[in-house]
Amino acid sequence: ATGASAAAAKSGGTLYMVTHNGQFAHADPQRNYTGQDIAFFNTYVYRNLVVYKPAAGPSGSGLVADLATNTGVPSNNAKTWKFTLRPGVKWEDGSAITCADVKYGVSRTYATDVITDGPAYALSMLNIPNNKDGSSQYAGPYKKTGQALFDKAVTCSKDNRTITFNLGHSVADFNYAASYPAFGPVKASKDTGDKYDLKPMASGPYKIAKYTINGEMDLVRNPNWSKATDIVRPAYPDNVTVRFGLDSNVIDQIMLTDSIPNTVNLDGLQPVNNQKFFAEAQYSARRMNVNDPYVRYYGLNSSPGHLDCLLVRKAFFFAWDTQALIDLSGGSQFYGAIGDNPIKPVLGLDYAPTTGNTHDSNFKAAGNPTYAKSLLDQAKTVCPATYAKVTGDVGLSIDLPNNATQQKASVLMKAALSQAGFNVKFNFIPGGQYYPTVQDITKQGDASRAGWGADWANASTVIPPLYLKDGGFDLSGNWLDPVYAGFAAKVTAALAMTDRPKQAAEWKSLAQFAMDQYWISVPIFTKQQLDWGSKVGGVAFWDPQGTFLFPALYVK
């Protein structure tokens, strides 16, 4: 990453941020689960037990203590975790942040009928038994059913400064999970339930002066934040204003003409404008092209009635015109490179190149219809039903979010796959309903576009969510595949390992297995482009969060 240059950072000014979205997905700490939103709120509005280091490059993936004085102390084979709070940290209203506040905050995750959309780490990790239907016996702080169970799982020291989490099983990197605001404090007396999402109480350097959905969010300095207690946030600008809902063309226009020089573009340019922006020298100081934390792929639904035949999935894999799709989205320079793994190389320890798939001699970036056809021909005898489906009238259906780029992409997909003999259909789903739809196996098609990035630097946040039935993001319907049982057992075992190198070796072999099963299409290790106005300084990429390194931004 480049960007943060020699010039000294400067305090003051208003920093604008623009986005096409109508609102932040969530502002409530317990519901916040999007990289950019977490980075934003963690930087500006609220503090957390531990946070990612505000630094560019790989070192940004390390944790630093923020609200806590340490990055967590495990014991009992990593089944018990302790954090001690830093003294002198205050809420927006001037009161001190206590262990009880953190405990209360964590408890909110359990109120699943109010606090939705957030990460379920607390639910799955804390030592609280579940009901038969899979819900927790603790119903959260609003209803208070099972409160005693929670009080046992999370305890506060007498001085109200040390919080202890008792986990149901060993979690070697629980402190990474604790970097999520979901483990952050909320003051019980100031909790407004659902409405907390509009105005969470600030503990960071800024407080929310105004937030209108489809309008703007205005941050002003929080007088009760003291720099002395905070080693993470330089808090340069006086004001931060986020403008929601601008037309993408307007945003691109702002960036291209630099008409609002103190602006940061939260969305990135549209692919069509990237090329110009990144080609012309006049923009060179206002752009950055980086690897993001995501792998993009198509989940291949291997459940019965879909692509329940390895040969067919393989044929799909080899027929795919990856290059054309990459070009459509800006070429390898902007969109990304062909990968071989659901785990991205940035995960270092857990990544190793796989064999087969894109390393197969028959693999061609622009698709190999001949080879794919031969695979399909084999499938004709091996699994005639599946063959008949994908080549016949029913056809192979691909789920795509409904937007202009994907509509375009479908043209290319159809062109490539039909050459191999597939009869392709598309199922365009409105953006907001896309994931809920494809995550429903009864609604999912045969292949669904998806992308995933590790929650933190451990493939435990990749392999299980992507390939375990209840992992949360399994789009390959593989639990109905006969090979699943053995695979799942290995994943569960790997999850419980506390020996990190051994665990890493296990993730590598599981990734290889998943690729050998062709549970996903050609993975793409994607890139991301950042762009900002000429008056914005200190720009860098925050690797683990996949967005701007917000703490460093300042107005020139």
Partner: protein
């Protein structure tokens, strides 16, 4: 005075209106091209489904100025996927025109039937129909289409009426017709109301004609001019409605092409490939203009009073 049939007179008047004749020819040209799309593309040597990725740069933009206009691609190629724009527009017009035409004809047909029924029978029938169309008009149509199209497409597919884009076209048409007929029905109703008071209807009754005969033989023929004019004016309306709904993502979807899809895609390329936006927009403007001017011409030609003004 030379005696002529009304048709001949209208035709004469129409022929003298140069703007209308030219517009008619233009419209005819577009419609014919849509009809002959396979032939034309074959002659030019392009294919609507082929992705001419070779004509694109590594960033997926057309290689060459003006959207990559060349001998091989007379209107250039589509950025991104690289299909031939001429083929795309020709084949796109097939769906767009079909949707517009079917919708217009169906909503006018339905409106006519219901309008005549209301106007001819009056009384309770009229009141019921009137209330019902008020009720339909009360729904915000654009909004309903957006909200309901996806689930309805699924319904249509589940009923095995049509699949994919077929189903989407069916749904779009159903929506347009459902929300389109009341306007025309009102117009027809008022005409039918006055028509039924005309003596020739009374004369038919005096001869013992049935209601059916009166509606179909006496009243209906007199409503053709209204219908034709309305048709020529509603066609362009539905053309741009199709475009708008494609823009909102609820119309026909890729890889099929319609003018609406092309236009809504082109908007994002306004800066990098303006030709891609300008060419289809110009076509749309031209055909809408042509249809409107032709509609005016038809109306003037069919209006017996046109000359005395």
């Amino acid at each position: 005075m030379v005696l002529r049939t009304p048709r001949q007179i209208s035709w004469m008047r129409f022929k003298r209106n140069k703007a209308a004749v030219i517009s008619g020819l233009v419209a005819l040209f577009f419609i014919l091209s849509a009809f002959l799309a396979p032939l034309i593309t074959k002659l030019v040597g392009v294919n609507p489904t082929t992705t001419y990725t070779k004509a694109l740069t590594q960033y997926g933009m057309p290689d060459g100025p003006w959207g990559g206009i060349s001998l091989a691609h007379p209107l250039g190629v589509e950025p991104g996927a690289g299909r031939d724009l001429l083929a795309l527009l020709l084949y796109g017009s097939r769906i767009s025109f079909t949707v517009a035409l079917i919708t217009s004809v169906a909503s006018i047909g339905l409106g006519m039937l219901i309008g005549i029924t209301a106007g001819y029978f009056r009384g309770r029938v009229d009141a019921v129909i009137g209330r019902f169309s008020d009720f339909i008009l009360a729904f915000p149509s654009t909004f309903m289409i957006v909200a309901l199209s996806l689930p309805l497409v699924q319904r249509v597919e589940a009923l095995h009426v049509a699949k994919d884009n077929g189903a989407r076209i069916v749904v779009l048409i159903i929506f347009f017709v459902v929300f389109g007929w009341p306007g025309f029905a009102r117009l027809v109703r008022s005409q039918a109301l006055s028509m039924r008071e005309r003596d020739f209807v009374m004369a038919a009754q005096a001869l013992g004609a049935s209601n059916w005969r009166i509606i179909t033989k006496e009243i209906l023929p007199n409503l053709w001019p209204t219908a034709i004019v309305f048709l020529s004016l509603s066609l362009p309306g539905f053309l741009s409605a199709e475009a708008t709904f494609s823009f909102l993502g609820v119309g026909v979807q890729a890889p099929s092409a319609t003018w609406g899809l092309v236009l809504s895609d082109a908007v994002t390329y306004w800066q990098t490939d303006p030709a891609y936006l300008i060419i289809p927009s110009a076509m749309l403007v031209i055909i809408v203009l042509a249809l409107n001017l032709m509609g005016d011409g038809v109306r003037d030609a069919l209006d017996p009073k046109a000359d005395s003004r």
